[in-house]
């Protein structure tokens, strides 16, 4: 009992000690060095090595510290970064003219040697970002401020592809033994996984992986930093509810992503608001058009999805507007084509439904194709990869049921899901695709071309149209922008007329902000700190 008394007493002491001093986290103060900005995202950057992992958020975060040769502006347009201009002296060569006034945060001036070193490092075994420069066969230093990238065949979109291929300091990497990217496969970790030295507007002050990363202004940054931030504190907060609570309680100035159901709550709160946009990722349905007999179906000896009328029937049976209104809370953008607004090659004329939602027409088409009673097949779906993915699939199953198609849903975690669908062990599946280069060619090559070797990896349904394959090859090397755009529209339209895929929507983006914080929402969901402005917290904006 004496022990218990002691414990109770010590607990009371702890509470007594903490209670009086407990209070609001200190408000950011506008010091001579600038304001403090605290923000939270769902996960932590997985590594600080700029070439090791091609994870969207990791690359976005590292883009505050490191810079590519060619950057992206507020509307994803190409802007000069470490290269001031670039040109094609001949169709197989891209020449980049480098900045003379850039320096790394440790003070080392930036030169062409750093570019050659970094791009070679990014091509090494274990470098996830190697895909951005696979077309490059030779990296050549012309002089200290000019670099040539030579490709095996003409590559008109190389500048678009390298906007997250970051440049490291060669001297720094050599000094710290970080000349090769950290690689799980080769069991290599290195100094660059936990330390950084970039030319970007901010630099790392301290980092505790998974807990907190503190950034400060890079003193060697050349100057066009429009933000008024002196210090940035980043915290990963995994739980949606906690992330929103941290914003409402004023512990962070910004939290994203915000789940759709919490948007009204944040907007109703006096001191907070929500910034909205659309993702660049298109969510779509894949129908197996390759196998001669559909997996898990009651139709034997043939594959109904090979019949265009059946694919059209499925399309016409799905009410995408209802999915937007009932499941996505009105926040999604209904897609008429496989690429989102903001992707290079997007044409609004294609972004309308190929055929209206019409269950009666769907039933007629099924009857015409020889399935008046419908048929059954299984559907594969992830339940933790895309916004509301499982609920969307459930809705699709219900809608198809209304036209006589008996669909059994198999929703599972993404790790299991991708193992199954990439193994082509599926009849009907929902996935999403966002071209890494924000260019339509990636959608055409990876999700719509006939699968072969490195092509069509995510063409889950094995859709195959020789004309699309041919156009995709032409688009890859077409240098004239207008002609290239026309080819993209042509290819996208063929897939659309074939009902090769069924595009559903782009999900909504929502960023939660404290009043007095000004940021730019870019549709690739990347927060660019150099455009963040923070007003010191005022009494009126203080949270309850």
């Amino acid at each position: 009992m004496r022990l218990a008394n002691l414990l109770t007493a010590s607990l009371a002491t702890i509470l007594a000690m903490t209670m009086p001093s407990a209070g609001q986290a200190p408000a950011p103060s506008a010091t001579a060095e600038g304001s403090t900005f605290r923000y939270a995202y769902r996960v932590d950057p997985a590594s600080l090595d700029p070439h090791a992992l091609a994870e969207t958020f990791t690359l976005s975060f590292l883009g505050q510290i490191y810079e590519p040769l060619v950057g992206r502006g507020k509307n994803l347009e190409l802007v000069p970064a470490l290269a001031t201009r670039w040109e094609q002296p001949d169709p197989r060569t891209w020449r980049f003219h480098l900045r003379r006034d850039a320096a790394f945060s440790d003070g080392t001036p930036f030169t062409a040697d750093d570019v050659v070193f970094s791009l070679r490092r990014a091509k090494m075994d274990g470098a996830d970002v190697a895909y951005t420069i696979t077309s490059v066969t030779e990296i050549r230093k012309v002089d200290d401020h000019t670099v040539d990238l030579v490709t095996a065949q003409p590559n008109p979109i190389l500048p678009l592809q390298i906007t997250s291929t970051y440049i490291m300091s060669r001297a720094w990497a050599e000094r710290h033994g970080a000349t090769a990217p950290a690689s799980v496969k080769a069991r290599v970790e290195n100094y660059a996984s936990n330390n950084a030295n970039g030319t970007g507007p901010f630099m790392i002050e301290s980092r505790q992986a998974g807990v907190r990363t503190v950034l400060v202004r890079n003193p060697n940054w050349r100057g066009d930093n429009a933000s008024n931030l002196g210090k940035v504190v980043f915290t990963p907060i995994q739980s949606d509810a906690t992330r929103v609570a941290a914003l409402l309680s004023g512990e962070v100035d910004m939290a994203y992503p915000v789940p759709q159901q919490d948007v009204p709550r944040i907007e109703a709160n006096a001191g907070t608001r929500v910034l909205k946009g659309f993702e660049l990722r298109t969510i779509f349905l894949n129908m197996d058009q390759k196998r001669d007999e559909l997996l898990g179906s009651d139709v034997k000896g043939k594959n109904p999805f090979k019949d265009r009328r059946v694919r059209q029937a499925i399309y016409q049976a799905i009410n995408i507007d209802a999915i937007r209104d009932r499941i996505m809370g009105g926040s999604s953008h209904v897609a008429g084509t496989m690429i989102a607004p903001g992707i290079n090659g997007y044409d609004p004329r294609l972004d309308v439904r190929a055929a209206p939602y019409d269950p009666e027409a769907a039933k007629r088409l099924l009857a015409e194709a020889g399935y008046p009673q419908g048929f059954s097949f299984p559907m594969d779906c992830s339940n933790d990869r895309y916004v509301n993915d499982e609920r969307i699939c459930q809705a699709v199953v219900g809608m198809l049921g209304r036209v006589g198609l008996k669909v059994s849903l198999n929703a599972q975690t993404r790790t299991k899901f991708f193992e199954k669908v990439l193994g082509r062990d599926t009849a009907f599946a929902m996935i999403g695709w966002q071209p890494l280069s924000y260019d339509a060619h990636s959608t055409l090559q990876d999700t719509m071309s006939t699968p072969a070797d490195k092509i069509g990896t995510y063409n889950i349904g094995g859709y195959s149209n020789p004309k699309v394959d041919e156009l995709t090859r032409l688009i890859e090397t077409e240098v004239d922008p207008a002609r290239r755009a026309a080819l993209i529209v042509e290819a996208m339209d063929i897939d659309k007329q074939d009902y090769g895929h069924i595009p559903l929507h782009q999900a909504g983006l929502a960023w939660g902000l404290r009043a007095g914080v000004d940021v730019v929402l870019r549709s690739d969901d990347s927060l660019e700190l150099r455009w963040v402005r923070v007003e010191p917290r005022t009494a009126a904006a203080a949270p309850r």
Partner: protein, 327 residues
């Protein structure tokens, strides 16, 4: 001594069995390669990656390789972070240990005296009220308690932080949040959330055991001998109550330590639970394997400690040669 050695041998076998079972389960986590390669990799590159990681080998071979390396303290590299697993786990260990120890202190420190008190004052209004409240602690899911506490104390009142561990101080390899104001403040909500269920459990168990013991013959004889009431209740009654209570507290500590995943997720507490939930989502097998072995080790150690504690408080076990183990 022989008793302890025997227990250690058993513990080692338990560890091996736990590792084997977990290895058989990893097939169901899914394929980590697709998470690791990024969307630009072709199917052939994925196959090459799988072969390089040894994931294509039979489970038995993977297991033998794992045990061989684990004996030397090498748990491999995390697929997600590209860092040695041992380092990742050790870095997260202090946060989880501090959280679970503090919450068990709260649970035991309040649960034990309240259990004794409600047993001794059976039938009183206040004791009934305490019991009724403890039912709520058992019935409410942990995440709900956590969210409600956040909404009340962080969002509405603004007294306590809703996430994280506050400022920590590095003592050698150990990072502690117990020595800073913000660290202690951050500890309050998660440790209370984690303690609620344990508190209710310990309270009710202590009460039931105490009632049982107070009905036994030797207590009646003690009363007949005219012993002091305090001596009867605490020296004889409580001491005999403690054997099962200690067992449960020990095992619950293991549970709190191993499965604080929910509380750590709700409060973004940077401990093992958070690491593990991310590892599950990613299919980070090396992290999961190391974690499961660590949890098995933790339970084995707790079991031995509980047994030793029994030896200390229950002379009967010593007499019968320590044949009886923990429940």
């Amino acid at each position: 001594m022989i008793f302890v050695l025997g227990r250690l041998g058993q513990a080692f076998l338990v560890l091996l069995a736990a590792a084997l079972v977990s290895f058989c389960l990893f097939r169901f986590v899914g394929d980590p390669v697709n998470n690791m390669t990024g969307q630009a990799a072709s199917l052939a590159e994925r196959e090459a990656m799988r072969a390089a990681l040894g994931l294509a080998d039979p489970v038995v071979l993977q297991f033998v390789r794992f045990v061989g390396k684990a004996v030397h303290g090498d748990f491999g590299m995390s697929y997600r972070f590209g860092q040695p697993v041992a380092g990742l786990v050790l870095e997260r260990l202090p946060a989880t240990l501090e959280l679970s120890v503090v919450s068990m202190l709260i649970a035991t420190g309040l649960g034990l005296p309240l259990g004794v008190w409600t047993a001794l004052h059976r039938g009183s209004r206040l004791a009934q009220a305490v019991l009724a409240v403890s039912l709520v602690g058992i019935a409410l899911p942990t995440f709900l308690i956590g969210i409600v506490l956040i909404l009340v104390f962080s969002v509405r009142l603004g007294w306590l932080p809703s996430f994280g561990r506050g400022d920590t101080i590095q003592l050698g390899p150990w990072s502690t949040g117990l020595l800073t104001g913000s660290g202690l403040r951050s500890l309050v909500l998660p440790s209370v959330t984690l303690a609620v269920f344990q508190l209710a459990l310990i309270l009710r168990l202590t009460r039931a055991e105490m009632l049982e013991v107070m009905r036994t013959d030797f207590i009646r004889f003690a009363r007949a001998r005219g012993l002091h009431r305090g001596a009867i209740q605490y020296r004889h009654g409580l001491r005999n109550t403690l054997v099962p209570v200690v067992t449960i507290v020990g095992l619950q500590f293991g549970n709190v330590f191993a499965f604080s995943i929910i509380v750590e997720t709700v409060f973004q507490w940077p401990g093992l639970g958070l690491l593990v939930i991310q590892a599950i989502q990613f299919g980070d097998i090396p992290v999961l394997a190391a974690y499961l072995v660590l949890v098995a080790l933790c339970f084995a150690v707790i079991n031995i400690a509980v047994d030793l504690f029994h030896l200390a408080i229950d002379p009967r076990i010593r007499i019968s040669g320590g044949a009886r183990g923990a429940a």
